[in-house]
């Protein structure tokens, strides 16, 4: 039959009037005047305030609103930028309320702490009642209790009450209810319950907030984040962990269309003079040692050295190429035909010359005006060290030589950019997150459902009084309950036909 149609759900309050586990809105408790000294009165009022859901909802709304402000006003910029954009006066207000670093300012932090206190106070206040309802299920009840339940139903059938009781018990345990049966002089009392742990869900969720914020706090106080670069073959000291980190190799993978697919660094940890760990890290796959994590963050070309340079030697008179060589960094390269040897000695990525100090330096780390200095030793013992410019091949003319030298290209020396982070709080955050998830799943999907049945009757006929309730999700419970009643009715019919 259509059980859905005869559901009655009250609009406002879904708790049966006699549901012992009906949550008491904490605000109402303020009315329960406790007789005692003033201090305990104040304390209990404080507790009422801090455990109130109204406060929780206000905090949610306030935090949401404040966070919106933080996404509209750019965070953590230079004061001059705000003054330019908003004007001096507005910036003064921004500064006063910490709006330029909103998520870390005193009042935002206080809201978070308050949320924490709020949810803990809520657990403190409500958990004892929850716990009592978990360990003290209402197994003892009277017929009157069942008859007063909102969805009380009576079914009669032509079976002995003992048999009916057994059937209902097996039906309920089939539906994964935990069933307690009590026989007494006037009939059989059946109590079935499931999903009682759903009741702790909200408490777990509430506790988890504190754990997550605690983890964040520990990370913020004791952790750090840094960025650094290492050249291939270079070794750097990591003071926070008192060990060395060496970049053995850096490489890049490309897609067919030339886009970067991924980039990698082979890193080795050297602790106490021993190589203890080597790992190829890539984006999304960091290296961790002694609680310090190294993330592949970026890469780039060094500004003060290169790996290789290709240099062409031309005869000035004929402009004919007489040599085409690839020089390795700082390695001597002999050209027997011309009776000379070349060595690349230095490199700058953006050539500039300081007249006063008569010094060459690089203007920037960009490869805007790359230049290589080559040491050329001739067979006659004379040595030149000209700068060869990639962008201006004809800038320098070495009058003494009958050759000219051109820098055709070079292979930059890659560095790897590493994000270095230590966050001793991060695991606490994950624990809190796990707890939050289990709390949510328990409280939103596991419902505490209870069914009370009394079977009584004489000889071949039994009357079944049945009723039940749940702590939430009433719509589904009513459907399930309707089906249960149908099953019971069918069972009693089956028998009649026999």
């Amino acid at each position: 039959m259509n059980s859905q149609e005869d559901i009655v759900i009250e609009g406002k309050n879904n708790y049966a009037p006699n549901d012992i586990n009906r949550p008491v809105p904490s605000e109402d408790n303020a009315g329960n005047k406790k007789i005692g000294n003033g201090l305990s009165n104040i304390l209990s009022r404080l507790l009422d305030f801090f455990s109130s859901v109204l406060l929780a909802i206000s905090l949610f709304v306030l935090l949401a609103g404040a966070s919106i402000i933080g996404t509209i006003i750019q965070q953590g910029e230079d004061p001059s930028k705000y003054i330019r954009e908003y004007g001096e006066r507005t910036y003064w207000w921004f500064h006063l309320f910490g709006l330029t670093d909103l998520y870390h300012n005193w009042w935002f932090t206080s809201l978070l702490v308050l949320l924490c206190v709020n949810s803990l106070a809520c657990v403190y206040k409500r958990f004892p009642a929850t716990w009592r309802s978990i360990i003290n299920e209402k197994r003892d009840f009277s017929l009157k209790f069942v008859q007063n339940l909102k969805n009380h139903t009576q079914v009669t059938c032509n079976k002995s009450s003992a048999e009916t009781g057994r059937e209902i018990a097996s039906l309920l345990s089939h539906k994964r209810y935990k069933v307690t049966v009590k026989e007494s002089g006037d009939g059989i009392y059946l109590f079935a319950t499931k999903g009682v742990w759903g009741r702790v869900g909200a408490h777990l969720a509430h506790i988890s907030i504190m754990i997550i914020l605690l983890g964040a706090l520990i990370g913020g106080k004791l952790g750090y984040r840094n960025f650094g670069v290492i050249l291939e073959g270079e070794q750097v000291f990591i003071p926070e962990g008192k060990f060395f980190l060496r970049l053995d190799k850096f490489w890049i993978d490309y897609y067919e269309n030339g886009a970067v697919k991924d980039f990698y660094s082979k890193l080795t940890i050297i602790d106490n003079g021993k190589e203890v760990l080597t790992k190829d890290i890539q984006v999304n796959d960091p290296l961790a040692y002694k609680g310090i994590w190294f993330y592949q963050a970026s890469y780039g070309d060094a500004f003060d050295r290169i790996d290789r340079a290709r240099v062409a030697i031309k005869e000035k008179k004929t402009d004919k190429v007489v040599g085409d060589l690839v020089l390795d960094w700082q390695k001597e390269y002999k050209v027997p035909d011309l009776n000379m040897s070349l060595r690349m000695v230095s490199f700058v990525s953006d050539f500039a010359y300081n007249k006063e100090k008569s010094e060459v330096y690089t203007k920037s780390v960009e490869h805007n005006n790359p230049a290589v200095r080559v040491e050329i030793s001739n067979g006659d013992g004379s040595v030149f060290t000209p700068w060869l410019f990639y962008n201006y091949p004809d800038l320098y003319d070495m009058k003494e030589s009958k050759y000219k030298f051109e820098l055709l290209g070079y292979l930059p020396h890659k560095y790897t950019g590493l994000q270095v982070a230590k966050d001793p709080g991060v695991n606490i955050v994950w624990v809190g997150s796990g707890l939050l998830m289990s709390g949510l799943l328990l409280s939103l999907f596991v419902f505490h459902k209870r069914i009370w049945v009394k079977v009584h009757g004489d000889g071949a006929r039994a009357a079944i009084d049945i009723g039940g309730n749940t702590n939430k999700n009433h719509l589904d419970f009513e459907r399930e309950y309707g089906k249960l009643i149908n099953n019971i009715k069918e069972q009693s019919k089956e028998h009649k036909e026999k």
């Binding site: 259509n2 149609e5 759900i9 609009g11 406002k12 309050n13 949550p23 809105p25 859901v53 109204l54 929780a56 909802i57 949610f60 709304v61 935090l63 949401a64 966070s67 919106i68 933080g70 996404t71 965070q75 998520y103 964040a216 984040r225 897609y255 269309n257 886009a259 970067v260 697919k261 991924d262 980039f263 890539q282 984006v283 999304n284 796959d285 960091p286 994590w293 993330y295 963050a297 994000q419 270095v420 982070a421 966050d423 991060v426 955050v429 994950w430 997150s433 939050l436 998830m437 949510l440 799943l441 939103l444 999907f445 939430k472 999700n473 009433h474 719509l475």
Partner: protein, 292 residues
């Protein structure tokens, strides 16, 4: 098969299904709550229309699934790398959510709003400029299993909130029609207010853990990719804002006994903030998540 072709099929199936649901609503003279067997319990013709609508929706969902798989094979990565793909995913979530709802509660009129919402998602995706639709290789930061989980979970959450939004709109329309005593309004054919209210709550209760796990998995990914699980980037912050809004909704409903109009408005506001989280942040506010 080409994924665009499959997306086209999905588009048309959802489109026709949405229209049929509307036809079903218009021709089905009495609301769902008339007991079965009642002489006014809807004409046979409108029942057939309703059946076809459901079948088309289900086929559309199958096509949607194949389209996503084909896309994944073409791109050689799970389909979540750009706006187009993520909207296909969202439509997929909305429609499967609707089908489950229809299967359990057998209320087809909800399809008028929810299937149209799924269709609308696909329609908007297909109107995107082509550069948002093409298959892209993944940049290094996106190659992570946690990111995959993050996107899947988040979009299923969005889909649940979208369904709740559709139900809340229905609630508001029906309640108004009831108040005005419009006996013959289409809106009176909607399911009972109490049921709309409860179903909308259920969708949110379903979406909330998804959103929560979406945020957590995003944090785990960020921790692997950038070395920090939370950096208050606008997308992260907005996901938290949405989370606060729905947390307030759940508490208001659970413990303050809010029902009906107020929670329906709450759910509408919540979904508007979801849309902003999804679209607004990508296009208006700067940040890491600019891709989707």
């Amino acid at each position: 098969m080409n994924s665009f072709f499959l997306f086209d099929i999905t588009f048309w199936l959802y489109f026709i299904a949405a229209i049929l649901y509307i036809v079903y609503m218009v021709t089905n003279r009495v609301g769902e709550l008339v007991p079965a067997g009642h002489p006014d319990g809807g004409s046979l013709r409108s029942k057939a229309v309703g059946q076809i609508a459901t079948i088309l929706t289900a086929s559309g969902w199958v096509a949607n699934t194949f389209a996503l798989v084909a896309r994944a094979l073409e791109a050689k990565h799970a389909p979540y790398a750009n706006l187009f793909e993520s909207m296909m995913l969202m439509a997929w979530g909305i429609i499967i959510g609707y089908l489950i709802l229809e299967y359990i509660y057998k209320i087809k009129i909800i399809g008028v709003f929810v299937v149209s919402l799924g269709f609308l998602t696909i329609a908007i995706a297909s109107l995107l400029p082509f550069r948002y639709q093409t298959v892209e290789p993944l940049n290094p930061a996106l190659q992570s299993n946690w990111l995959l989980i993050h996107v899947l979970v988040t979009f299923l959450g969005y889909a649940a909130f979208a369904i709740a939004f559709g139900l809340s709109i229905m609630y508001l329309l029906k309640e108004r029609a009831e108040k005005k005593g419009l006996k013959y309004s289409f809106f009176m054919r909607f399911p009972d207010c109490i049921r709309l209210d409860e179903l909308s709550y259920k969708s949110i209760a379903f979406g909330f853990p998804f959103l929560t796990f979406g945020i957590i998995s995003g944090a785990i990914w960020a921790n692997y990719a950038w070395g920090g699980y939370w950096s208050w980037d606008p997308k992260e912050t907005w996901s938290l804002i949405v989370w606060f809004i729905y947390a307030a909704y759940l508490h208001a409903r659970m413990t303050r006994g809010w029902r009906g109009r107020r929670t329906a408005i709450f759910s509408v506001v919540g979904f508007i903030s979801v849309i902003f989280l999804y679209w607004g942040v990508s296009f208006i506010l700067p940040g890491l998540h600019a891709y989707a």
